[in-house]
Symmetry: C2
């Protein structure tokens, strides 16, 4: 970062830049305090007269497609991350743009992964100016080291939709890898050898980008059904040998944690839902694909079976465990944002009750409501949480930016948001005096469940009341914190941070909730347990 940055204190007392990558920003004003102005972003009107009348939008290769889209320096190039660490299309798109002479691109993935570490070279060469999107692993490290020319901008899945919808990020060219597509550009994620399930993260890109390219390794004759992405949004179709490594796109299996501590956390959370009366006929919940979350689903299933309780819907990331709930009739619907294993893919491809969703339906805060606010309970991770329940999901205690926000911020709006976290990681306490990065305001975090007990946010007197007299180990968060510090020999060492912002964390309404600061000195070893991707 070069220029002197103007900072202001936001409603949570965090210092945040007033201008980010040349754009004036609004500081976080409080939960539900900010109201948007103006109108949604509107892409240019096109004419069918300029598209092939026979519906065949295929071009020779990605280079031709990018040329036809007029790729040039300074553009915003977007990709989805449904192929996770098996993706090859995003990197190809940026490298192809580089060959065509583009510089100073903004890369706008819905998340980035270690398989895209070569983007570091593109940043060093001046091809990519900066990344707006989750940075998992090496790209996060590069950013935290202060080497990126622009500021990173981290958004939740809902916040990414909001930013595109509201024109904060204007996508010039969306490059959408699709496991199945037809020549018109209709695309589906649930079939084909690179099947990844839902393609929901690409929906904002298709809808709002000026130009959109579908890249597929499985072309079918029109119509590609279902069309998760509609060809009417697509300019060009590229057929290629491979769009990703199927083995890394989805897991063959997703595994429940084997750690006794983590299993205990999962069990506590399941019992909490039952004892607090949340687990009742017609209820709903969301849980991710982490080891604790999977174990939680497994425990909850037993409790549901035992009590004869059926859920109305569960929100994915879908896994084998959610699919089992669906197939056993313990839930009516899976509303799936991203599909994590082969069981999820097979289910979404064939079961009409396993429904692909998008950040628009599930998470967009700046719309006419979104699903996340009426999910009864969401079970989430965190890297740190303080005694006011403020939580961090993107950086570790050493300051390194290693995780994306995923749907985490959005899920905090659920009826009962539960951070299911070990109290200690790598001998570092997870409950801290001050979170390194404040990603979720404490007023939205209802429960912190650790292996040492469950802390309920004092604001939630209803929950405290509901579990009174149960066998659950309900404890004040301060007490758990003190106990852990005793065991670990004190509080975590404060990170060695400079005064240079390297990234900002957006809240769901587009305001800035916190700043990620440059980390000074050599990096500590990475821990685990972060947010979504």
């Amino acid at each position: 970062m070069s220029d002197k940055v103007e900072l202001s204190e936001n409603a949570l007392g965090r210092l945040v830049p007033s201008v980010v990558n040349g754009r004036r920003e609004v500081a976080f004003q409080g939960v539900n305090a900010h109201r948007p102005q103006g109108r949604k972003h509107a892409p240019s009107i096109r004419s069918s007269a300029d598209y092939p009348a026979n519906g065949d939008k295929r071009v020779a290769d990605l280079e031709t497609a990018l040329k036809k889209c007029g790729v040039k320096s300074g553009m915003v190039i977007s990709n989805h991350h449904h192929f996770r660490n098996g993706d090859i299309v995003a990197l190809q798109a940026l490298q192809t743009a580089a060959r065509l002479g583009a510089k100073d691109l903004v890369w706008f993935p819905s998340a980035s992964f270690p398989c895209q570490a070569a983007v570091i070279e593109l940043m060093q060469q001046g091809v990519v100016h900066h990344i707006e999107g989750s940075m998992n692993g090496p790209l996060g490290d590069y950013c935290t080291a202060g080497k990126m020319r622009g500021l990173g901008v981290l958004r939740s899945h809902g916040g990414r939709w909001q930013a595109v919808q509201d024109g904060e990020v204007e996508i010039d060219i969306a490059v959408i890898a699709a496991p199945t597509a037809d020549p018109f550009g209709n695309a589906d994620g649930s079939h084909g050898r690179s099947a990844c399930g839902s393609l929901g993260f690409a929906l904002a890109d298709a809808t709002y980008a000026e130009r959109a390219i579908v890249v597929t390794d499985n072309l079918v004759p029109f119509p590609c059904i279902p069309w998760q992405i509609q060809g009417n949004h697509i300019d060009h179709v590229v057929v290629t040998d491979s769009i990703g490594d199927p083995a890394k796109i989805v897991s063959g299996t997703t595994e429940i944690t084997k750690s006794p501590d983590r299993l205990r956390i999962a069990e506590y959370v399941a019992r909490f839902l039952a004892d607090a009366g949340i687990m009742k006929d017609g209820f709903s919940f969301q849980a991710g694909a982490g080891g604790i979350a999977l174990a939680f689903v497994s425990y909850l299933k037993e409790l549901m079976r035992g009590a004869g309780v059926k859920a109305r819907f569960v929100r994915g990331g879908s896994t084998k465990y959610l699919v089992e709930l669906l197939n056993e009739g313990l839930v009516d619907y899976i509303l799936d944002g991203q599909t994590f294993d082969l069981h999820g893919v097979a289910s979404i491809a064939s079961n009409p009750r396993h429904v692909a969703t998008s950040p628009f339906t599930s998470y967009n805060h700046q719309g006419k409501g979104n699903f996340a606010t009426f999910v009864d309970a969401a079970v989430l991770g965190a890297t740190e949480v303080d005694v006011h329940f403020n939580a961090n999901v993107v950086t570790h205690s050493d300051g390194r930016l290693l995780h994306g926000i995923g749907g985490w911020q959005n899920c905090l709006f659920s009826g009962c948001s539960i951070l299911a976290v070990p109290s200690v990681r790598d001998r570092i306490p997870v409950i801290v005096d001050r979170v390194t990065t404040l990603v979720g305001p404490g007023e939205l975090v209802d429960v912190v469940a650790t292996e040492r007990g469950i802390a309920i946010n004092p604001r939630r007197t209803d929950l405290l009341q509901a579990v009174r007299g149960t066998s659950l180990p309900i404890r004040p968060i301060e007490e758990i914190k003190a106990e852990v510090e005793k065991i670990c020999g004190g509080k975590p060492k404060p990170p060695a941070l400079g005064d240079t912002p390297v990234a900002v964390v957006k809240w769901v309404d587009g305001t800035i909730i916190d700043t990620v600061w440059q980390v000074l000195g050599p990096f500590a070893a990475a821990g685990g347990g972060g947010g979504g991707d």
Copy 2:
């Protein structure tokens, strides 16, 4: 119409107004000649903080919903026409707005029907200023008599999407009748006692309106699956006893014509598709729900069976006859824009190969292509056609405006557009010197099939070549015309038209292709055989 109207001649030599209802318009410039400028319409950004966190958007009644939407004079109120002549919600919405004191409303239905004749009173009372949308029957009569304060604006289904998308019509409040919905506003047309199949005509309204209300008589718990309309676009939900007369929403049965002449036309068209080589493996076609079209499908099915040919997709309006093709494996997919009978409803509700579409996917000319341009053949009606193949589908030879355009203009872009028309109706020749209203340019009309023979547009030398030597009665259109005039005792009497425009007909690109003029004197008896609705 009061003010003096400025007229100009468009590319087809038709006089059209330069200003329509206060808005400057572009005269038709030729097929694929006009290119749009600017950006799509963008509705206001909302905040989930202003919507119920529990996802329950229900309000007491339509009056409450309209009040909450801030209904006031001069607003544009929109409805879909999926309930056809069984609809009651549209009229209720306008009458409720009237009770709330609104005046000078623009009513913007996707089509209007005789069941909405009471809108005439609302126009007389000053509540409704004018109608933009198809006017079938009495409302068309009222318009043609010059009694509407504003100009009617007729658009194709694709043109209606285009007008909304491009901001030519800014919908203030969309009132969407839904056979099934959940409290969040997710809505589906394919289930419930008022099931109508697809809800595609309401999609533009939901997407682009400032405010949207879903009215349902079949509330289900969230999530309503499928959600043809997404609750994230909806402001309020109203649950009511009845949204329509199910007996009139869809037909129990759709019937093939019994007229020997019309059966002959249908057979000619089916044989034409076979002999011209259009009917081949993987082909596609569109046919409506009129008597000739149904008979055509029936004949074509026999030919397909006989030849062992399978279609890739057919475009609906779906009927029993298309559903039979699907169920017999003679076609892979029905892409359905509106569902015409109970067989269609049952099929779209249960068969994943029977897919709901919208005017965005199927017809929108000002997008990145649309399905209509690559359907191999479309079989359509017409009220009049001239020897240059220019055709009329909205007015009769007496000048009366009695039909909407439907998808007719959009379907003219198909690989082979066929007007299947009797050569005579009510003793009036259908082939005329000059069509009363020019709705479709002759260069897009490929074939006119009558019971007296099949005329191929001389531009289509490929088709003339393809059917050379077959037993089909291919004849010059002038020859058929002369024969009919001899039988009828001459050309049709020219209509008694004044020089006052009462409505304009838009082309698919938003330009004005023709004007509907006030009819002078008493009305002649109505004929039949118009376009879509």
